[in-house]
Amino acid sequence: MAGTGRLEYPTSIMALRVLCSSRIDPVFLLKAYLKGADGVLIGGCHPGDCHYETGNYYTRRRFMILKTIFDSLGLKSERFRLSWISASEGVKFAKVANEFTETINNIGPNDTKNNMFL
């Protein structure tokens, strides 16, 4: 909806479509991280109005698990963000996208992309 509303956000954000945030296996986030993605943003329906009933609550737990693992290992968990953005909230999407990009810019580039071990 951000597009429909002609709201601008950084071009560095690349969308990958799934039908529900609960489809997102944290392993995807790992994959993206190790591939060199500087950040991964998950957008999901707000708690209570998941289009698929309860999916987003599971997403939140899975997200927290991954985040905690990263914190525990001293990795930058700020590179992951979960945000409740409903399908009609173009404005929020653009806002979050801008904020998140700024966060990522502050952390700096992800070194995984140059590391042959990863």
């Binding site: 392993v27 693992i69 290992l73 945000s83 979050v96 071990f117």
Partner: protein, 367 residues
């Protein structure tokens, strides 16, 4: 206070006689226990159905973990014939976690566990010259110190008291272990089993003062241990340093009580590394560590099982590359379980964090 079977014999002798009684009277069909496999004291798990063999060969408290017994219990259960299993607290917790995942059943299993002093690394224990090592071990654990010979993770283990056993036996911290046998019955099931057994039944429990003393020492030990893996450098470099040695044998997941998958997804075709991928990767990084994706595997495995990690130490014990897998997984596992207020193996009714949801939690997430 619990009902306790009191036998004036060594703890080992008393326990075996009790189990012999159960076998003879057909109350159980067999006993899962560590047993000697040769005269050199090398032990392995065995399922014993013959009372005589039980008395002769069982080494129920041997400080060794040839395999996490929860994996064996999964193949013995569900069973219609009652059995007894003498296993370590972490193995029991591992089994409880497996039961939650429908990988076995506690029905008809009399679980017997004990205050555990830790286990000696597999390679060390299963050698011909372990006799003195074992004698010294049992001498030390009469007190509240953990023997130096045990694995680092065991030294730092705070859950040395079984959490859900039907029968708990004081071994660690019990200086009367050679002359006295106390079988603490925690469940109705245990009490029912002891009905016709001729013995003294008293009201008693573990010595809480001694247990607290052990816990204090273990906690201090854990802090030291966790510091060895805490990140001194930038996390990513540390990660590469630590796991860079991984040879990708996946032995850690094979021995893990929580890794029960038929085929580990990371070994499936979903993660095949084909020529295209290699080329793609090379075009970006100009070099590729082979075998690839070893660190991806470790992070992925953490993601799959960390919250249920019982810290049994098997992964580290078997790692050919000497990576402190267990230490890292134990630390991260505890961190993850903590956010859900979850303790793996504490209670079979306690639902695994990823299987339930709470509407109100982590309010900081989502904005």
């Amino acid at each position: 206070m619990n009902k306790v079977i009191k036998i004036e014999k060594s703890t080992k002798q008393g326990l075996l006689e009790f189990l012999e009684h159960l076998l003879v009277n057909d109350k159980i069909s067999g006993v899962l226990t560590l047993r000697k496999i040769n005269e050199n004291g090398i032990c392995d798990y065995g399922f014993i159905t013959d009372p005589k063999e039980l008395i002769e060969t069982a080494e129920p408290f041997a400080p060794v973990m040839p395999v996490n017994a929860s994996q064996i219990l999964s193949s013995l259960t569900p069973t219609t014939k009652p059995i007894a299993a003498i296993i370590k607290p972490c193995e029991l917790r591992g089994f409880v976690e497996r039961v939650k995942r429908a990988q076995g059943s506690l029905d008809n299993v009399l679980t017997i566990s004990y205050t555990c002093g830790g286990v000696i690394p597999l390679n060390t224990f299963q050698s011909d010259a372990n006799e003195k090592l074992v004698t010294d071990y049992f001498e030390v654990i009469k007190g509240t110190d953990t023997p130096d010979s045990v694995r680092p993770t065991c030294k730092a283990c705070e859950i040395f008291i079984p959490m859900t056993a039907d029968i708990t036996i004081p071994i660690f911290g019990n200086n009367e272990v050679d002359s006295d046998c106390s079988l603490i019955m925690n469940s109705e099931e245990a009490v029912k089993m002891s009905k016709d057994f001729k013995c003294e039944i008293i009201e008693s429990d573990l010595d809480s003062k001694i247990m607290a003393e052990i816990l204090g020492k273990r906690t201090a030990e854990k802090e030291i241990l966790f510091k060895t893996v805490s990140t001194t450098k930038e996390g990513l470099d540390d990660l590469v340093d630590t796991f860079g040695k991984c040879i990708g044998c996946h032995g850690c997941s094979r021995v893990c009580p929580i890794c029960y998958c038929v085929l580990c997804d990371f070994e499936s075709s979903n993660f095949d590394y084909n020529t295209d991928l290699m080329e793609n990767e090379l075009s970006q990084k100009h070099a590729l560590r082979l075998p690839p994706d070893t660190i991806f595997f470790q992070l992925g495995r953490l993601n799959h099982m960390s919250f249920s990690c019982v810290g049994c130490g098997q992964c580290e014990d078997v790692c050919p590359a000497g990576i402190p897998v267990s230490t890292i997984f134990k630390k991260t596992g505890e961190d993850v379980a903590k956010i859900f207020d979850f303790v793996p193996g504490r209670d079979v009714e306690e639902v695994i964090p990823v299987m339930i949801i709470k509407e109100q939690e982590f309010p900081e997430v989502g904005e």
